[in-house]
Structure formats: structure tokens, C-alpha cells
Amino acid sequence: MTLLSTTQEDTLREMINIGVGRAAGLLNDMLNKHVTLVIPELSVLSYNELLHYLERYSQSSMAAVQVGFRGVLTGSASIVFSSAGASRIADLLTDADLSLLSEDMDELRIGVLSEVGNIVLNGVVGSMSNVLSLRLQYALPAYLEDDLLSMLGLKHVGQGNETSILIARANFSISEVDISGTIYIVFLDGSFGYLLEKIDTLGV
């Protein structure tokens, strides 16, 4: 596991918390439902460590919303749910029993999940670029269903590359039902190092 200084870890955690806080506020307003979002766990892994982590925690069927970014930082931010968790979120937010629609994600459900994921990710990357005054360009948000490594675009990345993956567990509580997802922020080509440098210059 990449070792972060306390300041670095605190700043990262704070940035993500600001982001998810903003996202939870938006969801609250938009849906008129009590939505809370907390990040109980945060860690940074190298590519090899991620492979090792996936061996232990990989889930077969997953759904993700992803936004790519490039500029001073290159990579992508994704929020990943188990397929079941994804359906659950869509159901809770629309008050519908979308689960009746068999296991296939229909367009409505994909739409809901994309929007929720989009809100959370915009919160997180927005807060990251705001706090650190970074100028980034973003790809259009995408909805994906695949295995995690493919979704993160890391299937064909060789070993020994300069990739770091920030992993934050995100626990949603919607109308008192708890669902957890995971935020993966992939930093390619050593851009995580740049991010840490930026954090260090904040002089928190």
C-alpha cells in the first residue's frame, strides 16, 4: 500500500468528503429523500497491489459510472456498485420496484444510476480540482458493466507502470437503507505523484 503522510491522507480524505457531502446535498434536494454518504475507508494502491486486492475481493457482476480526465492529471474516476447494489439504489431513488425487470439493467435503471454516479463523481473530482486549483478536461460520463479491471481500463496495462489507484469505500444510506459502493480514482503515468506534490504545497 502506498504510504501517505498524515497530512496527505487527511487532505485526500477531506477532499473526497467535501465532494461526497456536496453530492449528498444535491441528492437530498433533488429527490426529497434523506440521503447520507460517508467514506469510512480510503487507501491508495499500486497497480500490482490492485491485482492482489482484486484476487481477494473481486466480484463477478458489477456496474460502474465513470468519468475520464486528462490535463495535469491523467486517469479516470469511477464509482462501482455490485449489480444488486446498483438495482437497489435505482429502486430506492425512484420508489419503483425496478427489480421486476429481471436481471438486465434497463435503460431507466441505467439512467438513474448514471445520474447518481455522475453526481457523486462530479462532487469528488470537482472538489479535487477546486481544492488544488487544477485545470482538467473531462470525458463524457459513461455507464459500464464488466469486470473491475476492464472497467477501470487497466486490463492491458503492463506491470511496473506508474499507476496508482485511490480507493474510497462509499456508504450510501437512502431512506435508512444502506448500500455501499466503491470509488476508484485511477491516476496514470505518475500523476498521483503530482497530486501529492500539489497537496504538499497547500501547506495544510
Partner: protein
């Protein structure tokens, strides 16, 4: 805005808003959908046309887009229609839309962004999904209904199995409508004794009346109960346990409860069995509570601890409650290796072999070292999920037992040493007795014999034997010295010089015995740590030994070389060699391959050599082939500075 014209050719509604929410572009699809022309709307505030788009929850969402932050999704399910467009076949319905709002750079060096709304019409696919959902919903309802009637049927069959009754509401009182025959058989009362709800309640055990009443109260609201277990008193005063189901029948038009159906099953036998079980469990508990051992029962599946006795709490000094939710909690209090053994034992060994037996040492909070033994075995009773996953853990403090074992071991060791010592004494006595008997004989003959030349030879014999004894004493003193601590032996000894000196002394002796003797060494100091007199003794013994067992014309070579951080000294001879079966024993005290003792020596030289080499962290071993020769190899650590 010319570059936006391309958006006139896509089947998407597209418009551009600036930061002030003024429409900057409106594509032809939107013109078609809304009937609002580009000329009408461009330059106007979007709020004038579509006030819902400037409501705070939308503005908050898209605010970041004007700063170049990532695109925003307004999904069909949550927003339905960003630009309301009526359905062709139903003027009240609106087309469903999925919208993406993305930042659109105003110029190439953009620091300012407009928001580009791209609207996809998803009405058809949504309708398809809804139709599908509707169909599934109907199917689900049919399944529900079927299930419901099945449960009703189940209710009926339950009624047949024991007894059932019906109470009908008449003038505000529940009157018995009918009751099945088994009622009489189970309660001892006749149907004539059961006329109203109050009659029934009177049969219920006084301690359960309140619970039953509560069920009837909620039932008046039309709620069916989940089933209730309560006691009744039979006519002759026996207690019987009933599993009862009460169901209200509602008048669909008025919504009132008009009738209550009751079904009861006699579960007395089951209840008694449960009580007996509980009693035996209670007995177990009493025994376990008073045991000196730590006892607990846990479930491997659920990790739940079902029981742990008082000793557990006392020993680990944690409240029982912290342990209850997870049976491996106490593992965290164990030393690393014990913890790992326990955790893997519980996940692997115990489920497979149904037994687990672990012993470990740990310090208690009072700093006492204790030996603990944990034995686990699976219980042959299923848990509530029907799985055989319960086990009993029994932990004993075996410190005393362990200490007793250790004492016994120490005693054995002592006994062993005494045996070795007495064997040694026997050996020594034997070695002394031989020369002494020679001396004794010689002195006796010396007294009887007048022949001077004979007397001379007896005196020489005595002198030789006295010499032998004194050598033996020297060796024994040396050995005794070697038993003492190594502390004083901190000298730096250069083996190069040492072996050269030995070589000088041996040369003469070798020449007399007609042996070819040579020493090969690298031209560097070979410094080791030790005491020079001891190391001298060790190498002299090895070389002496080689000379002694090599017939004339043979060759003895001493060879030294540096191997990494060690020096290796080999003593190689072309002597008669050592039989393979004797090779392992040659370093023992008083061991002589020549049982007739025809060669000189006491069998102490090699034993002493080994003791010395090992004293300085060295190693010695021998290789040999009969009639070809032997090779003794010594390896000692080199002093680096």
C-alpha cells in the same frame, strides 16, 4: 455559433446556455419538438420559456459545467422531460428525455464555458420497459394470489389436523359459530361450554390471557396474526400448549371484521421436550459454570458465541458480552503464532476433522507465563439454519502439568548425566588400570629377578607406563578445562603460524616413520579466535592421529584454505582408513577402533579435538575409505579485522 450548425443534423434536441442562462443556440430538432424557432429564443433567458430549468436543484447541478467541470446527467427516470414535448397520441402525456449537459468552450483558449444540453428522446424504450414491467407486475400479482390461496389452504389443513372454530360478531359480541370435534378431545370441554369469545379466553392459561387478548384487539383492525403459542387449562386442570392461528374475516363492503377463524394445534409434547432440553442445558450450564476449565459453545457459521462460562471472563479479563458476537474475539489476546494456529484451526482443521487441539504459552495481564491447551470438538446438533456448525471449546490451564513435565524432564536429564558420568568413570578406571597392572607386574618381577638386563627392561616398562598415566591425566585435565566457559579465550590465533610450528615439530617424527609430510597454506594470515594452547592441541591430535594410522611410505598432508568468512583445514592421510560403521563414533571419548588397544593412545585425542573446534564455533568431520586413507576437515570462522 456556426460550428454548432452540425447539431441541426442529429436526432437530438440540443441547446446552448451561457452563464447568465441566456439561450445561445437552439437546434432544428428542438424547433420541431417545441414549435419555438431559433430566432424567437436565442438571446432570451431560458427561464422565460421553461421556468423549471432555472429552479435551484437544476442550477446547482449545472453550475460546475460553466467552470469546465465534468458533464452532468439528467436521467429520464428522475427528470422525465427537460424540454416538455407532448406525445402525439396523448396531448396530456409528455415525451421522456435523457439529457446530458456538458461544458462547451466558448473559444479555443477557453476559460469560459457554455452549457450544451443534449436531449435524447427515450419515450419508446421507456414505454417498452414500462409495458414489460406492467406485464411482470400482473404476473407477480397472480403469483401472489396463488400463494395467498395456498396459505389459506394451508390454514384449512392445519385446522383439520387439530381443532378449529369460528366466532361471529353479533350485536357487538363474538359468538361461537362452530367448533370441530377435536376441541372436546383436547380440552376436555364440550362444545356447549364454548359459546362466546369470553368462554374461550376463560380456558386460556391466566398468565397468557393478556397476550391472547392483545391479538384479538389487533385483529379487530383486520390484521392477521403470525401465529401464537399459548397455554390452556383443560377441564381437569392439565396444562396444554397450543399453537394457534387467528384470522379475521372482513366484510369487503363495510371494511368491518365480521368473523374470526381460530385454529389450534396441540404442541404440548414438543413443548415438554423443549423444556426437558432446556433443563438439561441448564444442568450443563451449572456444571460448566463450576468447572475450572474455560468452556464455551460457538457457531462456526454465524461466529456467534452461544455460551461461555465464568472462567472465561475471569481468565481473559474481558466481559462475556465482548466475546458473544464473535467466537474469535479472544484470538486477538493470544500471541501471534497461537492466534494464527487458532484461526486456521477453526476455519480448516475443526470443520474437517471435527476436532482441534492446540497448546500455547502466553502471559496473563498479571505478567504470569501460563501454558494453555484448547480442545474443540463439533457438536452433533444442528443450529437454527439446520447446519452442524456448533462446537464446544474447552480450555485448560496446563501450566502446572507442564511444569511437572519439565521437572520430570530435568530429572531424566540429570539421570542421563549421572549415567554418562559413571560410564566415563568406568572408562577412565579401565585406562588407569591397564598401565597400573603393568607397573604392578613389573615391580613384582623387579623384586624377584636378579638379572640386571631384565631389571633394566622392567624399569623402562614402569617408566613408560608412568608416562602414559601422566599423559592420561594431562588429557583429562584438558578435557575438564574445556567444560568451563569460553569467556577467557579471546586471543587472536594465527593458524598460519600455528600450523607452521606444528609442521616443524612433526617433520622429524614423520621422517623417522618414513612418511611424506607436507603443509600447504595460502600466504596470508589465517586469524581465528580462541586459546592458542587449545587449538594447538586440537591440530596436533589430528596430525598425530594421521601419522599413527598411516603405514610407512605413506603420505600425510595438511591443507588450509579460505572459504568466504571461514578457514578450512584438512588433514589428509593415505592410511588404513576407518570402517564406515565406525566412522560416526570416532569422536567419542575413549573410542578406539582397535579394540585390542594394540596402537598407542587412549581414544581421547579426537574427542578433545572436536570439543576444542566446537568451542570456537567451528565444525569438524571425517571422511574415510578403508585401505585408502582418511580426511579430517576442520572449519573455523575467520576473524575479520
Amino acid at each position: 455559433m456556426d460550428n454548432l450548425r452540425v447539431l441541426d443534423f442529429v436526432p437530438l434536441g440540443a441547446f446552448l446556455l451561457d452563464e447568465g442562462h441566456i439561450v445561445r443556440f437552439w437546434n432544428s430538432t428542438l424547433e420541431q419538438w417545441t414549435g419555438i424557432s431559433r430566432a424567437q429564443i436565442v438571446g432570451q433567458a431560458i427561464g422565460e420559456f421553461y421556468p423549471h430549468l432555472v429552479e435551484s436543484h437544476i442550477l446547482r447541478r449545472i453550475r460546475g459545467v460553466f467552470a469546465g467541470e465534468p458533464a452532468v446527467i439528467l436521467s429520464a427516470a428522475l427528470h422525465h422531460h427537460v424540454i416538455p414535448v407532448p406525445l402525439a397520441h396523448n396531448a396530456n402525456g409528455l415525451r421522456v428525455q435523457h439529457t446530458v449537459v456538458s461544458p462547451f468552450a466558448r473559444s479555443t483558449d477557453a476559460a469560459t464555458y457554455d452549457a450544451l444540453f443534449s436531449i435524447q428522446d427515450v419515450t419508446e424504450s421507456t414505454e417498452r420497459a414500462q409495458a414489460y414491467r406492467q406485464e411482470l407486475l400482473v404476473r407477480e400479482q397472480v403469483a401472489d394470489a396463488l400463494q395467498d390461496s395456498e396459505s389459506r389452504y394451508r390454514g384449512v389443513s392445519e385446522m383439520i389436523s387439530d381443532f378449529a372454530f369460528s366466532l361471529q360478531l353479533q350485536h357487538g359480541v363474538y359468538q361461537r359459530d362452530w367448533v370441530t370435534d377435536a376441541f372436546q378431545y383436547i380440552t376436555g370441554y364440550s362444545a356447549a361450554d364454548f359459546n362466546t369469545l369470553d368462554d374461550w379466553l376463560a380456558m386460556v392459561h391466566p398468565q397468557d390471557t393478556e397476550r391472547v387478548l392483545r391479538v384479538f384487539q389487533t385483529m379487530r383492525l383486520g390484521w392477521a396474526d403470525e401465529g401464537l403459542e399459548h397455554r390452556i387449562l383443560t377441564r381437569n386442570g392439565d396444562v396444554r400448549y397450543l399453537q394457534t392461528y387467528y384470522r379475521p374475516v372482513v366484510d369487503m363492503q363495510r371494511g368491518d371484521v365480521v368473523r374470526i377463524l381460530g385454529a389450534a394445534q396441540d404442541v404440548t409434547h414438543r413443548k415438554r421436550t423443549e423444556d426437558a432440553l432446556r433443563a438439561s442445558e441448564e444442568r450443563f450450564r451449572q456444571i460448566a459454570e463450576n468447572l475450572d476449565a474455560l468452556v464455551y459453545i460457538a457457531d462456526l457459521e454465524t461466529h456467534e458465541v452461544l455460551y461461555s462460562n465464568r472462567m472465561f471472563e475471569r481468565f481473559f479479563e474481558i466481559p462475556r458480552s465482548t466475546f458473544l458476537h464473535n467466537h474469535t474475539v479472544f484470538a486477538s489476546m493470544l500471541p501471534d503464532d497461537a492466534r494464527q494456529a487458532l484461526l486456521s484451526g477453526l476455519t480448516e482443521t475443526l470443520p474437517q476433522t471435527r476436532k482441534l487441539d492446540l497448546t500455547w504459552q502466553m502471559e496473563t495481564s498479571r505478567g504470569q507465563g501460563r501454558w494453555l491447551r484448547l480442545r474443540c470438538f463439533m457438536v452433533n446438533a444442528p443450529n437454527e439454519h439446520g447446519k452442524m456448525s456448533r462446537y464446544v471449546g474447552l480450555m485448560d490451564d496446563i501450566t502446572e502439568q507442564k511444569h511437572a513435565n519439565e521437572r520430570e524432564f530435568a530429572l531424566m536429564l540429570e539421570r542421563e548425566q549421572v549415567q554418562i558420568l559413571s560410564a566415563f568413570i568406568t572408562d577412565v578406571t579401565h585406562e588407569f588400570r591397564t598401565p597400573l597392572s603393568v607397573i604392578n607386574n613389573s615391580v613384582y618381577l623387579l623384586g624377584r629377578n636378579q638379572d640386571n638386563s631384565k631389571r633394566e627392561s622392567y624399569i623402562t616398562l614402569v617408566q613408560e607406563q608412568v608416562n602414559n598415566i601422566s599423559q592420561l591425566v594431562d588429557s583429562l585435565v584438558l578435557m575438564a578445562g574445556l567444560e568451563s566457559s569460553v569467556q577467557g579465550d579471546m586471543e587472536r590465533v594465527d593458524l598460519h603460524t600455528l600450523l607452521e610450528t606444528i609442521s616443524d615439530q612433526i617433520h622429524h617424527k614423520a621422517m623417522l616413520a618414513d612418511l611424506h609430510f607436507s603443509v600447504n597454506m595460502p600466504p596470508v594470515p589465517l586469524v581465528v579466535r580462541g586459546r592458542v594452547t587449545y587449538l594447538w592441541q586440537a591440530f596436533v591430535s589430528l596430525v598425530d592421529n594421521a601419522l599413527r594410522f598411516t603405514p610407512s611410505g605413506g603420505r600425510v598432508t595438511v591443507q588450509a584454505q579460505v572459504l568466504g568468512e571461514h578457514v578450512q583445514v584438512e588433514v589428509i592421510d593415505t592410511g588404513r582408513g576407518i570402517a564406515p560403521e565406525n566412522l560416526p563414533r570416532i569422536f567419542e571419548r575413549f573410542y578406539r577402533e582397535d579394540h585390542a588397544h594394540s596402537t598407542p593412545g587412549f581414544g581421547l585425542g579426537l574427542a578433545i579435538a572436536r570439543k576444542i573446534i566446537e568451542r570456537y564455533n567451528g565444525k569438524i568431520h571425517a571422511e574415510s575409505e578403508l585401505n585408502k586413507g582418511s580426511r579430517f576437515v576442520v572449519v573455523l570462522p575467520l576473524l575479520t579485522n
